[in-house]
């Protein structure tokens, strides 16, 4: 019944090579995810700091993570736009339908996100003024987890058109999808791991030796990464049988990203064990962070493959019509290279340019 309700393809052709759209989608989603991890994980890590550290020890780390988040949330929102564009071009009929089922919640996501952002700024100003910011940080963490929970729900609804009749009548059913909780946990744990490494990987200038927050962060990252293996197995175990079969029997192309992600994860676990023993080793913490970023990249590819496997039946007779707008596509690539170059230049210049002797600052 549900599969009959999949809207027809848009009558307009796809304006670019679908393969290129997928690459752009996956790459920009990966970048989006890095900033999401920093913001979401940073908020959660900062929220649990009071349970482990005294105010004097936790405040610098909380301020550092609030400063990171003030950039990360802005960039996460900015980098959400591009994958949303490419997703809608290729999978709009699944995406729009899923969002209509949960429309009020879908719109509330943006309100929660905005509130989390302003709470983060409030926390930053309070910490700078030497005041406690435990409450705004905790609220911000709760709101960002809620945003992640909504995203996971929309993902699971859109990839299962066979269940749409049921979801249309009662969208909250998605919370009982066997994959819902492990998928959300998988996502949140990755975020916590990444953010918890940051204080050790980027110690604040002038700080003598490893801070308590860096020590605690590495421990939290180790625990979260260890838990990630259990949650990952749980998630694999609850995938619909057709999806799991497609993943396991899809050959090297299907299995390689997952296998690479797991291997990098194992290496990350080893690195974190060493880093916990040597919390002052900044280089080791940065190598661990790089491994985490690599693991996230592989998992993003796997996530995309799983979406295709979920939707294989619904798209079986799909005939994508393509009419590439080559000149506009070329213009986009040129503008993107220019803007990305200027963005990097601006960041480097802002970080390195300082007034010389006798010069005044802006």
């Amino acid at each position: 019944m549900g599969a009959d309700l999949v809207p027809a393809l848009d009558p307009a052709p796809i304006p670019g090579p679908p393969g290129l759209l997928v690459v752009l989608w996956v790459v920009t989603f990966f970048l989006h995810l890095l900033f999401v991890n920093a913001a979401l994980g940073g908020a959660i890590f900062s929220a649990i700091l009071p349970a482990a550290l005294k105010p004097a020890a936790r405040r610098p780390a909380a301020l550092f993570l609030a400063e990171v988040s003030s950039w990360a949330i802005s960039l996460a929102v900015t980098f959400a736009i591009a994958p949303l564009l490419f997703l809608q071009t290729l999978y709009g009929r699944f995406f729009y339908t899923a969002t209509v089922f949960v429309a009020p919640v879908w719109l509330a996501l943006l309100v929660l996100l905005m509130a989390a952002y302003y709470l983060n700024w409030a926390a930053k100003f309070r910490l700078k003024a030497g005041k406690s910011a435990d409450l705004p940080i905790a609220l911000s963490a709760v709101l960002l987890v809620a945003v992640a929970a909504i995203q996971v729900a929309v993902y699971l609804i859109q990839v299962q058109p066979a269940l749409w009749s049921a979801y249309a009548a009662r969208p909250s059913l998605v919370l009982f999808d066997p994959a819902y909780l492990p998928r959300l946990l998988h996502f949140v744990l990755a975020a916590v791991s990444m953010a918890a490494i940051l204080p050790a990987a980027f110690p604040r200038a002038g700080e003598p030796g490893p801070g308590e927050a860096a020590r605690f962060g590495l421990f939290v990252a180790l625990v979260a990464t260890g838990a990630q293996f259990a949650v990952g197995l749980w998630l694999l175990g609850v995938l619909p049988s057709g999806v799991l079969r497609g993943l396991m029997t899809g050959g090297a192309a299907k299995l390689a990203p997952l296998a690479a992600g797991v291997l990098v994860g194992v290496a990350l676990l080893g690195l974190l064990v060493r880093a916990v023993a040597a919390p002052g080793n900044v280089r080791l913490a940065r190598v661990a962070l790089a491994h985490l970023v690599a693991a996230a990249a592989f998992m993003v590819v796997t996530r995309h493959q799983l979406r295709d496997l979920y939707l294989a039946a619904a798209r079986a007779n799909e005939r994508l019509v393509v009419a590439t707008q080559w000149n506009v596509l070329a213009l986009f690539l040129a503008v993107f290279v220019l803007c990305a170059g200027l963005t990097i230049w601006a960041l480097v210049r802002a970080a390195t340019d300082r007034p010389g002797p006798g010069e005044t600052a802006a």
């Binding site: 309700l5 959400a80 564009l85 729009y96 089922f101 719109l107 905005m114 393509v322 802002a350």
Partner: protein
């Protein structure tokens, strides 16, 4: 496995209207249009401030390099926090919110726009990325980098923000005046449409006006009287430039509209008289802005909090009034002459009259029982619910309360007859009816009548005992 087929050139025109779409319907109590309007107004004000603020702040910081002015520097520093708090997240999120809400209320239209302009949006996104990063860097580097670097950051921000407006204007204007795109389906024919440049002219003016008005308000916090008057006079220059550009843009924009739409501004259609009055109100706001800007230029000491607040509200009125008129003039389309506000394509009217709207509207029909009232409800959801609620905004119960079944049938039949006029070419083409045509079979029309009739409160006669 899905297949791909590459089309080239005019082959894309072969894609026929027989391939139609259907999405579930979100019944929002306040009306989808109202929700879109509220979010759009918020976003438009913030985004235009972000663009205009960038231009004003870049020019002001460039001026500082030649003529140091501690008061102006302090104003810029204060305003930079406001710029990032409203621009980098509120602006971005409210922009995504418009997208979310039109995807919920008009998924078919959103999909059509995405398929036509995805690369345009992608270009805008690239500029937006530069805009966000330079805004954050500019705010973070006060008192840290050399003045030249700081200036470069805000200039880059201003250029990126303005370019994002230059790009998005093409898509916004396309929806009202798609121009040659209707024949060619070409990106540039849609993008460089008749109201594109006039719209840019107006929006540039509105950006400057809004930024000047806001910063004047912020400048009143300056304690030094001389410095405050100097700032007010300096910012009034931006407001006056903004008013002049906006007025030039408005007249050019009106001149670029199709004649039948222009006629609306003269009050040609009593049922959409709001557009005509909106046009007049827009000029009241422009006039008020011009007078207050002149006052600030000539008598800056007269600009106190109440005056500055009124000037800011007038600037909101200019921008909001334009958006209201633009949206009103587009009725009853989402994309003029291509797609109606209920997602029905102009090109499929004939086929749907033959095959029935419920042949397309799978979601509206999937839980309908085979009774006239139930099927009529499905017709209502697929054709009317994107604009009409039951009891709220444009509530259908109130609008049909006085009409009996015969009148409803007559009215809907006449609306269906309008369909042929929409598919015709000028001069036979319909001019500016206020609603899309009714499309569907006789049976569906009767079902809709039955449903609308069923919404009325039962009439009971009170009989006095003993009479």
């Amino acid at each position: 496995m899905h297949r791909e087929e590459e089309l080239s050139g005019l082959e894309r025109l072969r894609i026929g209207p027989e391939v139609s779409m259907d999405y579930p319907i979100w019944n929002v109590a306040v009306g989808g249009g109202v929700l879109i309007g509220v979010i759009a107004v918020l976003h438009v004000v913030v985004s235009h401030f972000a663009v205009g603020g960038g231009i004003v702040m870049a020019l002001a910081e460039t001026r500082l390099a030649k003529r140091p002015d501690p008061a102006l520097r302090a104003l810029l520093k204060r305003s930079s926090l406001m710029l990032i708090l409203v621009s980098t997240v509120f602006g971005a999120i409210s922009g995504v919110a418009i997208w979310f809400v039109i995807g919920l209320v008009h998924p078919a239209a959103t999909s059509a726009l995405i398929h036509t302009f995805v690369w345009g949006w992608a270009i805008e996104w690239a500029f937006f990325l530069l805009e966000v990063v330079t805004a954050l860097a500019w705010y973070a580097t006060w008192d840290r980098v050399r003045p030249r670097t700081h200036r470069l950051l805000i200039v880059l921000y201003a250029v990126a923000a303005y370019m994002s407006l230059v790009v998005i204007q093409g898509i916004l204007a396309f929806m009202l005046t798609p121009g040659r795109w209707l024949e060619t389906r070409g990106f540039w024919d849609g993008f460089l449409n008749p109201t594109y440049l006039p719209g840019i002219l107006f929006r540039t003016g509105a950006c400057l006006l809004l930024a000047g008005a806001y910063m004047t308000l912020a400048a009143l916090r300056e304690r030094d009287r001389e410095a405050r008057l100097r700032l007010v006079r300096y910012l009034a220059g931006f407001e006056i430039a903004g008013v002049l550009l906006a007025v030039a843009g408005l007249f050019a924009w009106k001149g670029a509209l199709p004649p039948e739409v222009q006629a609306i501004f003269l009050g040609a259609k009593p049922l959409i008289v709001a557009v005509a009055t909106g046009w007049r109100h827009l000029f009241f706001a422009v006039g008020a802005s011009a007078l207050l800007a002149l006052l600030a230029l000539l008598v800056p000491r007269a600009v106190r909090w109440p005056v500055a607040v009124v000037a800011l509200l007038a600037a909101f009125g200019v921008l909001g009034g334009y958006e209201r008129v633009r949206e009103g003039a587009r009725k009853p389309f989402v994309v003029r002459d291509y797609m109606f506000s209920n997602g029905i394509l102009v090109s499929e009217v004939e086929a749907l009259n033959r095959n029935g709207i419920l042949s397309k509207a799978k979601w509206a029909a999937h839980d309908a029982e085979p009774t006239p009232v139930s099927r009529g409800r499905a017709v209502f959801r697929s054709e009317c619910a994107s604009c009409h609620t039951l009891d709220g905004y444009l509530g259908i119960k109130k609008r049909t309360a006085a009409a009996d079944a015969d009148f409803l049938k007559l009215f809907l039949t006449s609306l269906r007859d309008d369909g042929a006029k929409w598919t015709a070419r000028p001069p036979q083409k319909a001019d500016f009816p206020y609603m899309p045509p009714f499309v569907g079979t006789d049976e569906e029309l009767d079902a809709l009548v039955a449903y609308l009739d069923s919404l009325k409160a039962p009439v009971t006669a009170e009989v006095k005992r003993g009479s």
